[in-house]
Symmetry: C2
Subunit: 204 residues, 2 copies
């Protein structure tokens, strides 16, 4: 997409408000889920009235799909980048999640819903990502520590550690006052994750 041949240089006003709507909707959907988020809340947080939303999105479903699409697409791009090393890929994904801290919560909301009413974009993304992660892990020399049937469980565990950290951040802030999304805390978690992988899959 993005066929911007001889396109207008300055982004139009409509595009900017659409982006603002997506930002506020992303935060609200991530915190309250699809059913718990009302279009009145989205409009109010975006500084608009409800009918104005319909100038940019066909309805609640379309808005939700657009939020998911905009958030997930860069992660897919980072995952399928052909020339990247494993460490680069992990670093790039962590960077993306850092830039959009609401995305993991959004994905977790979808995961919890399980089979029913699942967004197609997520289904198409999730399975190949797990498969690729499995292959990457098997290629590491340290994977011999684990049996064949344990590798998928290891992938799942690492996924949970990465995504779960962002998902639980708001709760920890409410409980401890500690902000896990601060740059220092994020750097600490990145270091910890590297140590974790090193402990589970030693290079030698």
């Amino acid at each position: 997409m993005s066929a911007a041949a001889a396109a207008p240089i300055r982004t139009a006003k409509g595009e900017r408000t659409a982006e603002r709507i997506l930002d506020t909707a992303e935060a609200l959907f991530a915190e309250r889920g699809y059913a718990g988020t009302t279009l009145r809340d989205v409009a109010s947080a975006a500084g608009l009235r409800i009918p104005s939303l319909y100038n940019h999105f066909a309805g609640k479903d379309a808005l939700y799909a657009a939020v998911l699409e905009r958030g997930i697409a860069p992660v897919i791009d980072a995952l399928v980048a052909p020339d990247a090393s494993d460490a680069d890929t992990v670093q790039r994904i962590l960077g993306q999640l850092n830039r959009r801290p609401n995305l993991p919560r959004l994905v977790q909301q979808e995961v919890l819903r399980g089979g029913e009413h699942l967004s197609p974009v997520l289904v198409q993304w999730f399975k190949p990502a797990l498969t690729q992660a499995e292959e990457t892990l098997r290629a590491r020399p340290g994977s011999r520590r684990w049996s064949d049937e344990q590798i998928p469980l290891l992938v799942l565990a690492l996924y949970q550690v990465v995504v779960g950290y962002f998902a639980i951040a708001p709760l920890m802030k409410a409980l401890n006052g500690e902000d896990l999304l601060e740059s220092e805390a994020l750097a600490r978690q990145t270091r910890f994750f590297a140590d974790l992988v090193a402990a589970l899959l030693p290079e030698e």
Copy 2:
């Protein structure tokens, strides 16, 4: 509570239907969240009409609180059992989650909501549980592998692995057809978790 001095021996009809309502509500709340679950759905799944629910619970909020209370209480009991060894505690908690596979999804729904509208029973439970887990980990000799500031992150990571496995089970079933909650798969995950802890915190 439960002042059952000279109480009726056989459980009354009302108690049995209350239990049935709790079961169906637990499943629906876990899958669709609080806002996404309607009392009409709960009543229909329980084989009742809506007004009958109010003979057992004061309203939607009270029903949700009762579901959470019934599910979390045994886990708390397992956590604060005074004479249990660490391995016993882990085993008992995994057994509880096995018996109530919907509970982790329910807790995750609460976690995702973060600070706002958080159930008090969860807040009171979560913080001491994390603190105790931290102490337990520090007592293990293998914890010297990790720095002081990494221990809380390790606790969080292990929590995510345990709870996340149950939370993602419905999605995996929808994607692969593989049922992670089967007894064989659960035994595999239990073994894997033990290996994981052993790799992260070696005994020697």
